[in-house]
């Protein structure tokens, strides 16, 4: 399973490379962005629900 180890190491290296963001977001902006993402993912979940019911599964 060395590839899993290699992939994990690579992801950690990427996280370290970009650890300090160039744009400082205020806590409020961060919260809005998180809420927007959650909201959009909820909408996608509803769309998938709609697809499943439309197909009659």
């Amino acid at each position: 399973m060395s590839w899993v180890h290699d992939a994990t190491e690579k992801i950690r290296a990427i996280n370290r490379t970009y650890a300090v963001p160039r744009i400082r977001l205020s806590t409020g902006t961060k919260a809005v962005l998180v809420l927007l993402r959650i909201y959009l993912l909820t909408l996608v979940a509803l769309l998938l629900y709609s697809l499943v019911t439309r197909l009659g599964y």
């Binding site: 690579k10 160039r22 744009i23 927007l36 993402r37 959009l40 909408l43 509803l46 197909l55």
Partner: protein, 433 residues
């Protein structure tokens, strides 16, 4: 006196000559810069787009034409921002997000992009296999030939060669336009139903769904990533920005013209037929009655799927390549950019496999993928707007207030439509559906 007249004439001639030389020089530069904008815009009339436009024409006749007319400038506003960001940062969009917002938002965006791209490539293969089925070609053979062709295009290892070949494939996307001059559509109805905004049957759930699918096929997250990476890989500079804007504007005009032609064709042959499920089905149905229209529809659908698969697979491969630090330029030979190409091949194979599942509802999947893409679009646009407001990143190319208002309004409308549709799918009685 004669010498004065002669010298005045010489002045006019030399000015005209100077203007001619300047114009030809500008045209030559435009010809060199043209590519990323046209490719991304034509590719958004992909196989899913062809199906969406065919269904909107079949279900609601010409009444989607005004939406398409509005979407042309909207797509331009979104894509023009990626040109400025790419030229000024020399970074692809994925890398720009990682650098600007950190790994949390970076991984979020990259995962969104990869998943939606995989689904979008599935719709491209759906379109291509349906189109070739009209000519009796089995789906597996179509997929193997297409994937091999896409990978072979990279053998040369030159961005310019790749771009010129893809531009030639893009030109075939206009195949629908001449058709409208031979099928005698009702011009009065086109203007009456198509140009005047409105929906004769009201704004019900199915209409909102198709509006969202239409928006989803005109602007999508992959387009933002594609054009920015493409601008960087091509090596466009600050002085090329005005030409790159023309490139994007020309591309969005092509998109709108092709989309309108498709809606007209669909209305003429299927207007009022709500049983139609896909463009592939439309081509099959037309073959016995109007073989030449059916053939053109199938060729155009295959071409659209091919451009889509070429571009969408590149968008995510470029993005993943940038973040993982793999060699990811089209100027690299196939073997040099090994992981970039392995990733691209993998997502195409996965997407192609989904299409081969027996009994999969391919038409419904195609529309839903467009709608999912448009639902996730606001998140990508918000990052794009924030990045374009950072003077230290883009200098004098930062968004003006007008550009922010336009881009912000697009985000607002997308959010409102997504919400309307989601609410409508839980409480269908609200829209009378």
């Amino acid at each position: 006196m004669t010498s004065v007249v002669n010298s005045a004439r010489m002045g006019i001639v030399s000015r005209l000559y100077f203007r001619y030389r300047r114009f030809s020089k500008q045209l030559a530069i435009l010809a060199a810069v043209i590519g990323p904008g046209v490719i991304v815009m034509v590719a958004d009339n992909d196989a899913g787009g062809i199906t969406t436009y065919m269904l909107s024409g079949a279900y609601y006749r010409y009444s989607f034409i005004w939406i398409v007319l509005l979407l042309g400038p909207v797509a331009y506003v979104c894509q023009e921002m990626t040109v400025r960001l790419g030229v000024m940062t020399k970074r692809g969009h994925a890398q720009a997000i990682f650098e600007a917002f950190g790994p949390f938002w970076g991984w979020f965006s990259l995962t969104d992009l990869t998943l939606t791209d995989c689904l979008t490539i599935t719709t491209e293969f759906i379109g291509m296999t349906m189109a070739m089925a009209v000519f009796g070609v089995p789906p597996l053979l179509t997929e193997v030939v297409v994937i091999t062709f896409i990978m072979l295009l990279l053998l040369n290892g030159r961005y310019w060669t790749w771009e010129k070949i893809v531009l030639a494939i893009c030109a075939v996307n206009m195949i629908y336009v001449p058709v409208i001059f031979f099928i005698h559509p009702n011009v009065g109805a086109i203007f009456h139903e198509g140009v005047v905004p409105g929906f004769p049957e009201g704004l019900g759930g199915p209409v909102i769904f198709l509006i969202m699918a239409t928006i989803g096929t005109t602007i999508a997250p992959w387009m933002i990533f594609f054009q920015q990476s493409s601008v960087v890989d091509k090596g466009l500079k600050k002085r090329d920005v005005p030409y790159a804007r023309w490139d994007t504007a020309i591309g969005s005009t092509f998109t709108v013209v092709t989309a309108i032609a498709l809606i007209i064709i669909a209305t003429v042959f299927f207007g009022g037929d709500t049983n139609l499920t896909s463009a592939g089905e439309a081509a099959s149905l037309l073959m016995p009655l109007h073989p030449w229209v059916g053939t053109i529809l199938a060729i155009g659908l295959f071409d659209a799927g091919l451009i889509g698969a070429l571009s969408v697979s590149l968008a995510s491969s470029w993005a993943v390549g940038e973040v993982f630090g793999w060699s990811h330029s089209l100027n690299d030979r196939l073997g040099q950019a090994k992981w970039f190409n392995v990733f691209r091949l993998s997502i195409m194979v996965i997407a192609g496999s989904i299409v081969l599942i027996p009994g999969a509802p391919l038409g419904v999947i195609t529309l839903f993928v467009q709608v999912i893409a448009v639902t996730l679009l606001p998140a990508a646009l918000v990052f794009l707007i924030v990045l374009l407001n950072q003077e230290e990143l883009v200098g004098s190319y930062k968004n003006t207030r007008a550009q922010n208002i336009m881009a912000g309004s697009i985000v607002g409308v997308l959010l409102a439509l997504s919400t309307l549709y989601a609410v409508g799918s839980i409480l269908p009685h609200l829209f009378g559906g």
